[in-house]
Symmetry: C2
Subunit: 426 residues, 2 copies
Amino acid sequence: MDRIFLKNITLDGRQVDIFISDGIFTSITPHSCETPLAAEGAEIVDCSGKTAMPGFVNMHTHAAMTLMRGIGEDMCLSDWLDHIWAIEAHLDEPFIYWGTKVAALEMIKTGTTAFNDMYWFSPIARKAAEEVGLRNLVSFTFLDNFDPSAAEHQKESCIAMHETVPSWGPRSSFAVSIHSVYTVSEPLILWVTEYARKHGLKIHVHIAETEKEVVDCRKAHGGLSPVEYLDSLGVLGPDVIAAHTLWLSDKDIEILGSRKVNCVHNINSNLKLASGNFFKADELAAAGANICLGTDGCASSNNLDMLEAMKTTAIVQKAMRHDPAALPLHDLLKMATANGAKALGANSGKIEEGYEADLQIIDTDSTFFLSPGPFLANFVYSAHSDCIVSLISGGRFVMRDRKVPAEREILEGGRAELELLKNIDK
Amino acid sequence: MDRIFLKNITLDGRQVDIFISDGIFTSITPHSCETPLAAEGAEIVDCSGKTAMPGFVNMHTHAAMTLMRGIGEDMCLSDWLDHIWAIEAHLDEPFIYWGTKVAALEMIKTGTTAFNDMYWFSPIARKAAEEVGLRNLVSFTFLDNFDPSAAEHQKESCIAMHETVPSWGPRSSFAVSIHSVYTVSEPLILWVTEYARKHGLKIHVHIAETEKEVVDCRKAHGGLSPVEYLDSLGVLGPDVIAAHTLWLSDKDIEILGSRKVNCVHNINSNLKLASGNFFKADELAAAGANICLGTDGCASSNNLDMLEAMKTTAIVQKAMRHDPAALPLHDLLKMATANGAKALGANSGKIEEGYEADLQIIDTDSTFFLSPGPFLANFVYSAHSDCIVSLISGGRFVMRDRKVPAEREILEGGRAELELLKNIDK
């Protein structure tokens, strides 16, 4: 395991030395010119002029869809789905492997050290993420379209995947995904929930993304909203990661809060797909929910950049609440880091002794940081993710000076998969 | 004057060679292995794998305020203004010079080749912009706060500035700014308009940025909205550049359209300051207005990145119209380039023979462009401005391979001004 000594780095406005060993922040001390005995033999990295930030935690994405971005732009949803489905019908392991690798490369270049994935062929996605060094939660996705035989087949496949893939963890975990209330039958939702609780697995689910979803659910389930319906089935709890949660009643917010659900906002996807409404960040947090941030998949939001998602989230919250003081920067930062880590059950998301060493190194030598304002304002509102020059994930450098070791190979692998896609379109 | 031959660059999906001389796109021809006779002696730049885009035109900013970004974040407007005014009371020429240079550096690094500035000490701002090679429209800003003696003083200062600064143009022009209907008296608005028309100067004005501005204007001027009021004074015409135009009635839209006013949208500022409402892009364009894009000053929107402004504009238009097909990419691109050039009266904003040579060179070798979708979707929705590797403004390289010649000197000059600011705060 790597041993790294980050010398003279800025952390919360103070100059510190950070010693990382066994994947953990072992010591964080005021900067001194001496290297402590404990750090002898460690790689010493001079970080003068650089600032430390926790790695981002992207709490909702469909990683391999990175290879589908830009398909059907400026189109209505039904035309767009035709394009996506034509490709998804041909998904195979190499596509998932290279799609996830391209996604992981993009996440690394934009400061993300952990992500929560909902897609297919999860062991392959996990392999891709592990090879480049990102913490990941991958899932078996249930989507039976109310077909009992599909449900049976998916249960068997899930059990097989869960049991046969060796050594999940410590930075790669297995979860179950319930795609949504409009694509998964009630018996299957119940089975998945029971299976998850029995095995201590997180449950990842799309909830209340569109108004139609809510209207249809109320019609189908005796007036219950998606939140009420899932709660009536015993699904909701602190082990649930709920993507979107946009179209919520006051009662929905109360339920999500009291069940301590992890609610993931995906601002760019919501705006670009015109999902309507806006995320009730303050109300959900006040009710007791754990609010997190995600990017969604690249086919809808078009990139995996959490820093961009932070800025858009902040300014849209201010605009929609008619209050320039809405969603202060420190709360926003928690959404993108510590809250996500908490949802994953990870001991990370903070730069503190004893936490897992997930850390961005920021270069502030640009116009974006030339300001009398605080670092965090410049980082979120002015800068772009190319200010993130190096990234440590689980105690190891996954990017140094903007270079990711496998970058060339990943771009070429992704490009080869895109060539194959062209044949599908024909 | 530089002579440049861009070899094998992608333009609208075709491989071409672009010959630039005397600041103009002299010839654009299908790529050939031969270098034409006309280009002999020119600097030959191999652009294989790179894509050409017109330079961005930032149609509304307060450039020197770049040094004030990050002041008073997450605060309400009145607290924020206290901070800004404390600094503005101490403005001097060095602050404007270095503030504008820092702004110009940031614009260059984000692909902008021309900008429309509304601030103080305009000849100094113009000098800063010219030294780094950006086209600029700078103005004398009128803001008398209804004080007749201030109005007289400003008229004299404007005339002196206009007459004594030598050789405005061809890529640097002088304009007049009417700050707003709530800060400039009617006699002064009339005088400025007459002066502008007599001398062929553009008129730059903030219009209908907030609901309060509209409500107060209707109270003060017999029920007239800011648009109606300015129109009743004969101000509005195709030589007017109107920033914001957010709070508009149907009648306002009709007037702005029939007068062919240039309406500048500043999405990030509008969202972050919670100005409310949203820009009626389609309606204004359909009525006949020329819709453009700007960033506003860095004290409100926090950077000068037009590519970021394009993405936010697009996704917010889609969201607010509940239509993922709203504001197609080609219309958006025109807002950020050709429409702005038209508003400036510049023969630029397009990569066509005979146009001024303002051009971005894009490197597509990254995950952001690894997609089956069109280049423009990847550029706007996925990539960041660091994909703009080189920039030609007025036929000259102002950035090559992300390097701007005066970058180090500008950052140091800006930093020295920030040190002086600290003393002001004390």
